[in-house]
């Protein structure tokens, strides 16, 4: 159980450090493999913010304009782009893009987070750095409507054209009402006062 204990310890450290991160502009980085990696990257890209979350997990926050530049630098250390996760923060009116990177040589996972406005969401493509980004970007475009400039294959990929136009994973897309309009019947369960009582 060595590793789980270690992980827990690390987690405790990071949670203790978390308030410091918000107060100080430059948090201290631990003298571990992860800390050195963050330091090295931040020296090359001073516009980014970086922190160590726990063992084997590091995090960067990068402004959207410089994301391509940052990822190009990061790609020297991080050979693989595992995923582009999009989180729709409806209240803030922003999309959060999380580029999940994995370094095979260092075995560290990095979250590179950036935020863009929900309206007219545009991002530069990273296909030239990692060709696999084509698939991820097609998917993010399809489900959220983000336009990746430079990706030639944006369009209906998994979905049919009708659903594609709706960008169904956006938070303001209501599946239940859509199901009612498409499949014609009321599939929800109500009590008499017509309020959703389940879930």
């Amino acid at each position: 159980m060595a590793v789980t204990d270690n992980e827990v310890k690390n987690k405790v450290e990071s949670t203790q450090k978390a308030p410091q991160d918000t107060q100080n502009a430059k948090p201290e980085l631990p003298n571990t493999k992860e800390g050195r990696l963050v330091k090295e990257l931040l020296e090359k890209a001073p516009y980014a913010e970086g922190s160590v979350r726990r063992e084997k997990r590091i995090e960067f926050r990068v402004p959207a304009e410089r994301i391509h530049e940052f990822l190009e630098i990061a790609s020297e250390k991080f050979e693989m782009l595992m995923q582009i996760s999009v989180v729709d923060w409806l209240k803030e009116g922003e999309f959060e893009l999380v580029y999940q990177l994995w370094s095979v040589s260092e075995s560290v996972h990095a979250f590179v987070k950036t935020r863009i406005s929900r309206e007219n969401a545009k991002m530069p493509t990273v296909m030239d750095i990692w060709p696999v980004a084509e698939t991820y970007e097609r998917e993010a475009h399809e489900f959220f409507g983000i336009i990746f400039e430079g990706n030639p294959r944006l369009g209906p990929f998994i979905l049919e054209p009708r659903e594609y136009e709706k960008h169904p994973l956006r938070k303001d897309f209501n599946t239940l009402s859509y199901v009612k309009t498409i499949y014609g019947e009321d599939f929800d369960r109500y009590d008499e006062s017509k309020t959703n009582y389940v879930i």
């Binding site: 693989m80 782009l81 994995w102 990692w130 060709p131 990929f157």
Partner: protein
């Protein structure tokens, strides 16, 4: 009596470009799948030049159910019953990644007994998935006997799963904080050991009929070759990456559960062709059986199998603190990951699953199919071990 086609008819046919005239062009479009057993409901549009594939376009989405949207509308525990459907042959993997991510956000320390059970379940899922793969691969290259055996041996594991979890294919077993049921008893452990030994004894037969087979070598050698740089840039993971010479295994590089204490080997080959992928998989099956043996020697630790938390009293309204986490495990297809974002309510704010086939099932497949012969298309599909529900979700 001559059987010749009358002249007028022949001219008529020629006018309409019918069968009597040779086909004017050699290129044609071929819709490969979804109604093809190798693709498992997944379609590739091939532009063929004679017998060679000139260009391939992958058309997934036949299995898209919108899991990520549905998961946002259901409570945390309920999502287990939903997300495991992402990977059908290995349904424990999505359960585990989701549970690991939620465990990390909540900050639970999962009991040791639950960890042991989870590790065993994951390894059993791997072995049963290998069996499924052997069946599919054997069928694709025409060695049906191996497929018949593998499907029959897989049933033994299904039976064990059934006794442990109560379900045959969809186990709905691993939940955040532990597992849902305890081990049924020592009898189950004995049965598991018997099954492991049984499959181990059958490995030699599999070698003889499938992996040593002249036909396997002829069909796979030099087909669908990747190089190291290409594989890394396309984020190929799992056995496909190990077949090009990168020893990346999540169980070694980002260890979870009991794997740091276990002794196993990571097979690596350099060729990067279909044969290398097949051989790497075969060796991993052997290693997984070895891991299961070690786990059984270790024995289940005593203690609870579920975390003790008063918040769990009201399961439907169980709230998770705000935060996000990424967890990944090594599945037979590759690196399977889940990114869970919580905003402090009783439903996840976002769940994003990284299926390994997303990277090796679309762009990589399209590249590898270029220039392949038509008969090699199923071989490439099966040796990449493409799982369409991963891509679609």
């Amino acid at each position: 009596m001559s059987l010749e086609v009358p002249r007028e008819l022949r001219e008529e046919a020629r006018k309409h470009d019918m069968y009597l005239t040779p086909i004017a062009k050699d290129t044609y479009e071929l819709f490969f799948g979804p109604q093809h057993m190798a693709t498992e409901n997944f379609s590739i549009i091939l532009k063929m030049d004679g017998n060679r594939v000139e260009k391939a376009i992958v058309n997934p989405g036949f299995l898209h159910r919108g899991f990520e949207k549905l998961a946002e509308q259901r409570p945390y525990f309920t999502n287990i019953a939903l997300l495991l459907r992402i990977c059908v042959p290995e349904s424990d993997v999505p359960e585990n990644i989701y549970s690991m991510a939620v465990d990390e956000i909540v900050g639970w320390e999962v009991p040791e007994r639950a960890i042991w059970i989870r590790t065993v379940v994951l390894e059993m899922a791997r072995v049963s998935s290998w069996m499924f793969w052997i069946m599919g691969f054997g069928n694709e290259i025409g060695l049906y006997t191996a497929g018949q055996w593998a499907a029959a041996y897989r049933e033994r594991l299904m039976r064990l799963f059934e006794e442990l979890t109560g379900g045959r294919v969809y186990h709905i077993y691993t939940v955040p904080g532990g597992v849902r049921r305890d081990i049924p008893g020592d009898k189950w452990l004995r049965q598991l050991r018997d099954t492991v030994e049984y499959i181990k004894s059958k490995l030699k037969d599999f070698d003889e009929i499938l992996f040593d087979n002249y036909i396997t070598f002829e069909r796979t050698e030099g087909v669908g070759v990747m190089d190291k740089r290409f594989a890394l840039k396309h984020a190929v993971t799992g056995p496909n990456l190990r077949a090009v010479g990168v020893p990346y295994d999540v169980r070694k590089d980002d260890p979870y559960y009991l794997y740091p204490e276990l002794d196993f080997e990571v097979p690596v080959l350099k060729e990067g062709d279909s044969l290398a992928r097949v051989l790497v998989r075969r060796y991993e099956l052997e290693q997984d059986l070895y891991i299961l043996e070690q786990l059984l020697d270790m024995g289940p630790p005593s203690g609870p199998y579920m975390v003790q938390d008063p918040k769990l009293k009201n399961l439907p309204r169980f709230k998770v603190p705000a935060g996000d986490a990424y967890a990944h495990v090594e599945s037979t297809k590759g690196d399977f990951g889940a990114y869970v974002v919580s905003d402090g309510s009783h439903k996840p704010y976002r769940v994003h699953v990284r299926g390994p086939s997303q990277s090796h099932g679309v762009t990589v497949l399209e590249e590898l199919l270029k220039g392949a012969r038509l008969a090699d298309v199923p071989v490439i599909l099966k040796t990449l071990d493409n799982c369409p529900p991963d891509i679609d979700r």
